[in-house]
């Protein structure tokens, strides 16, 4: 709906842009952000997002604790991060401005709702003077837009009260940004019609606000330039946006269908994992039985009970909850039952930073249980990857009869990106068979093993297979409780061997860039986007750097040692104090270098590029 006007508007073509909406929790920034995301994705750009939720649940209006934000990076090419720095910041009130300004590039576009910068608002943000009126913002392209006033004017005539009119401000902000970045209005117009159909006055008001915002950009002289980001070349297909938690839930449901076993999901609410429970419990028609347990330990032990009964048993939590589950995890390992444990990592230690991202639970995943207690660990690399990782975890769990831990993090969990919807026929079935009744009344040995060292999955209700298992050490042959010295040695080594053999079953580790050379970036988990972008950026400029990203953390892929040896230096960027680095050094005697950040935020590409250039110099 771009209108041609008399004023000279410059059209600037850009490869990419990063926009952040921020305001009070009541300003509807999440909706604005999601709409821009969907619109850009439908337009044909690749997108990546990062929502930033407020620290407090119900902070008073206008305070810093109530600031909520949403960042969208959209581009004419494949992108993997939500953007290092913000090109355009929309600040709906002073508190939002003061908390987000530092991320805006110098010379970046700053659109502020001038009407919110009154005495009270400024005071709540800690401003002595109004920054919109002094020179403090002169290094940015500042646009003082009276959004409240303009929105109210735009929706006059729809019969809405002042309070209701103000709820349309986010649509005004959306409209303005849509003009600024030459986005089509249609998808959002359709959204308004669909969602607010039952309230025609509100639908009309939202429409008016959106168009008013758009026209404001078009007609206001202050806005000289309009930016265009062309479509990216993406693979053909049908797409949708998914967040990591959503993709995990759907991946689990897919695995359930592909293995023909119904899910039992036992969990306890904890940030940032609760949304997996919320999503998966909507799909009871897939036979998903969810159980909100009384505590974290009941969550995992109920999962163990369900696994014993033959269900696809899953539990999920975050760092502190996984710590509580330690003893039960040990029981699951020694029982050798298939199940999935999901850790959506957050800032630690202890209660830490519940709403901030980190990847500091690697040691916990590897070593956090008493005794020699090996547990396979795999990590997702981005929101869409969670869908595949969930299925892979169940495949490994059932093939090797072991619990498997999936590591995700707050950034992946809440971030969104487009996901190409797979053809159902392309999904790989996961073949699982329960043990069958013995033919000639022969006794059942619950710890007999197949070529994968996996024991049979004999579920209650199957005649002839009645057996008792428990946490005590068991005899290698009969499975009965055994305190025999040699047997214990044998069993510990056997359990370790079984898990180690998984390395033979997973794809070989591959590399982006040269297969040998000066520098290799080794990464895991949510740092995938920033690391791969940094490495390819430096390569583009002629630097000798390769990147490899681990999905399988325990056991590590068989060829990893050899791979690492092909480079002079290995750099491991991690959102912790060097946990994978410690593992790599101890496993392969490789003196890897760490780049360690613990700020509750993902890496920005520039930070990694800087370190690469330092190491290549």
């Amino acid at each position: 709906m771009a209108t041609t006007t008399e004023t000279e508007k410059r059209i600037v073509e850009l490869e990419e842009a990063t926009v952040r909406f921020c305001g009070d929790s009541g300003d509807g920034m999440q909706l604005a952000g999601t709409q821009l995301t969907n619109t850009s994705a439908m337009f044909g750009n690749d997108v990546a997002t990062f929502p930033d939720y407020p620290a407090e649940i119900r902070a008073p209006r206008g305070t810093k604790a109530g600031v909520s934000g949403f960042q969208i990076h959209f581009a004419a090419r494949d992108i993997f991060t939500p953007g290092d720095r913000v090109d355009a910041l929309v600040a709906m009130n002073p508190a939002a401005l003061v908390t987000n300004l530092s991320d805006l590039v110098r010379g970046g576009i700053l659109i502020a709702n001038a009407n919110a910068f009154d005495k009270k608002g400024l005071q709540q943000a800690g401003y002595e003077a109004n920054p919109l009126e002094d020179d403090s913002l002169e290094s940015y392209q500042l646009f003082n837009v009276e959004m409240t006033k303009l929105t109210r004017a735009a929706v006059k005539g729809t019969g809405l009260s002042t309070k209701e009119s103000d709820r349309c401000r986010n649509f005004f902000a959306m409209g303005l940004i849509y003009w600024l970045y030459d986005r089509p209005l249609d998808p959002t117009l359709r959204y308004i019609e669909e969602k607010f159909g039952k309230r025609p006055a509100i639908a009309e008001a939202n429409r008016n606000a959106l168009v008013a915002g758009y026209n404001y950009g078009d007609t206001t002289e202050a806005f000289i330039s309009q930016y265009q980001i062309p479509k990216a070349k993406l693979a053909a297909g049908t797409y949708r946006n998914v967040t990591g938690n959503q993709a995990l839930a759907w991946g689990l449901i897919a695995a359930s269908k592909l293995s023909n076993i119904e899910i039992f999901f036992g969990s306890y609410p904890i940030t940032p994992a609760s949304d997996i429970l919320h999503e998966i419990t909507k799909h009871k028609n897939f036979g998903v039985r969810t159980f909100q347990a009384e505590d974290e330990i009941a969550a995992i032990t109920s999962t163990i009970g369900a696994a014993f009964g033959g269900a696809m048993a899953v539990t999920c939590s975050s760092g502190p909850g996984i710590a509580l589950k330690g003893e039960a995890l040990g029981l699951a390992v020694i029982l050798e039952l298939p199940m999935i444990i999901i850790n959506v990592q957050r800032g630690g230690p202890s209660t830490g930073l519940p709403t901030k991202t980190e990847q500091s639970d690697l040691f916990q995943a590897f070593y956090g249980r008493n005794g020699e207690c090996p547990l396979p660990v795999i990590a997702a690399s981005c929101p869409a990857d969670c869908f595949d990782v969930a299925q892979e975890a169940w495949r490994i769990a059932t093939k090797f009869m072991t619990p498997v831990m999936i590591l995700s993090d707050g950034y992946i969990a809440n971030g969104a990106e487009p996901w190409k919807i797979p053809e159902i026929d392309d999904l790989k079935p996961i073949s699982v068979e329960y043990a069958k009744s013995p033919k000639n009344g022969e006794p059942f040995l619950p710890y007999s093993r197949d070529e994968n060292l996996a024991r049979p999955w004999a579920i209650p209700g199957t005649p002839g297979l009645a057996h008792r298992i428990g946490g005590l050490e068991k005899d290698a042959l009969t499975g009965n409780v055994s305190y025999d010295a040699d047997n214990h040695q044998y069993m510990c080594e056997l359990r370790a061997k079984k898990i180690a053999k998984i390395a033979e079953d997973v794809p070989a580790q591959s590399v982006d860039g040269p297969t040998s050379g000066k520098l290799l970036i080794l990464s895991w988990g949510g740092t995938y986007g920033a690391c791969s972008t940094a490495a390819s950026q430096v390569r583009h400029q002629g630097g000798d750097v390769a990147h490899t990203h681990l999905r399988y953390l325990y056991p590590l892929p068989e060829n990893l040692g050899k791979l690492l040896g092909q480079y002079d230096t290995v750099l491991i960027p991690e959102l912790n104090l060097g946990q994978l680095r410690t593992v790599i050094r101890s496993e392969y005697l490789v003196d890897a270098i760490g780049l360690n950040k613990l700020k509750g935020k993902p890496f920005v590409v520039a930070e990694i590029v800087e370190k690469i250039e330092e190491l290549l110099a």
Binding site: D24, S25, G26, D27, G28, Q30, L31, T34, I57, R58, P60, R61, E164, R167, N170, K195, F196, G197, K198, R199, I202, N206
Partner: protein
């Protein structure tokens, strides 16, 4: 709660409407409905202009206290010992505890008939708080403390005056 924008019935407490994604969180915070409500939530007891209290010692004879109440035309006396409010004696106490035997008890100390350990309020407390306390406790008079010392007294009538003034201001 029902989303005010699209009407969808959401689970209580969600931050955004499940259907249209408009924010719901600020709607669960109560906003003062009127100027009057806002003022009782923001004004403090000093806005009621607490009066100087009539202060007596615990040993003061009943007859004296009764005379003072009449002379000062107040409804209650605060009994103070070593600077601490230890009791309160109101016209209600006179009616219920002395009654027709008032003359007989004339020489007895007021401490025998006072209500001990009176509820007090701080001058910094909000009027809304004072209102609630007076209603919950059934108090007609409450001694007011400033920096730990009895500095004034307020009565139900003072609250009535305040509310009435605000109402009139709001209506006009």
């Amino acid at each position: 709660m029902n989303c005010p924008d699209c009407g969808f019935s959401n689970i209580e407490g969600v931050d955004e409407c499940d259907q249209c994604q408009q924010p719901l969180s600020p709607l669960t915070l109560s906003e003062p409905a009127s100027e009057l409500e806002r003022s009782i939530l923001t004004d403090r007891i000093d806005a009621l202009n607490p009066r100087e209290p009539l202060v007596v010692e615990p040993g003061a004879p009943v007859s004296l206290v009764l005379q003072l109440l009449v002379a000062h035309a107040v409804g209650c006396a605060v009994v103070v010992e070593d600077g601490e409010p230890v009791g309160i004696f109101s016209e209600r106490d006179a009616l219920l505890r002395l009654n027709v035997d008032a003359a007989e008890h004339g020489d007895r100390p007021i401490s025998d008939f006072m209500t001990p350990n009176p509820q007090t309020l701080d001058i910094e407390n909000k009027i809304a708080f004072a209102l609630q306390r007076m209603d919950a406790g059934g108090y007609r008079h409450v001694p007011i403390m400033t920096d730990g010392v009895v500095s004034g007294i307020i009565s139900v009538r003072d609250v009535l005056n305040y509310l009435s003034e605000k109402l009139v201001a709001q209506q006009s």
